[in-house]
Assembly symmetry: C2
Homo-oligomer: 121 residues x 2
DNA sequence: CCGTATCCGATCCGATACTG
DNA sequence: CAGTATCGGATCGGATACGG
């Protein structure tokens, strides 16, 4: 892992694991199990393949995700959350709620509707 | 708030709220209630006053923290978590656990001991 | 004690092109 | 479909100095 800084507190460690623009979204996208790179790319709007691969590599190094690689062509790889990643998912789900709350407050429900996100309680 | 990007997903919103090196630590540091700037600065090793103030300002703009300002000298200000901040705290506490797990796995318990963090279950 | 301003190197991330 | 390499602009964050 690339915790190069002097990590003297648990939250600093985790910051190293989730920093970057896309990592929480990748975790969320993996919530339902094994997912191919192409599926991830489709699921996360606007991410580039480069950033997706770069972040996945870092997340693998920090033990949040892992992957299995099939043989033969076309190549097939599946990424999935490790146990640590699943624990992180529980934090990400709270963040998701916070973001939804915020968007509802701001009257941005149209965006949520378009994505089929349920925000009614 | 400075959500300048086109925010089309809840996690992107929250990323805007917590990005930066110190924000999760600030949230954690505020868990026990109102805290002065000086206390925060003492509680978060290595943070500079500039970064602390900058992050607090951003967090205030995104509705995670708020502050009350006393009158007279010496100046006294107290920062505290809003309801949104408290919800975020519940995610931060999970991150804290993940970080502790990681440090225990790596045999870095000495650092946890020094900080008086309980990692025994 | 609280808060602001500037400067500058380090890092991040998007675009793009390319390989197996 | 999966993955790598490079380049350049934008952003981040630490040092430092100053002001209320």
């Amino acid at each position: 892992m690339i915790i190069r800084e002097a990590c003297n507190c648990p939250l600093e460690v985790v910051h190293g694991m989730i920093k970057g623009k896309w990592k929480t979204m990748i975790v969320y996208q993996l919530k339902d199990g094994n997912t191919s790179l192409a599926e991830l790319e489709r699921g996360i709007e606007q991410i580039t393949q480069k950033m997706l691969l770069q972040h996945l590599k870092e997340m693998q190094a920090s033990g949040i995700v892992d992957k299995i690689t099939g043989e033969g062509y076309p190549l097939h790889v599946e990424y999935y959350l490790t146990d640590r990643g699943k624990k992180l998912l529980s934090a990400v789900l709270i963040m998701q709620e916070i973001g939804i709350d915020y968007m509802v407050e701001q009257g941005q429900t149209e965006l949520l509707d378009r994505k089929g996100i349920d925000y009614k309680r």
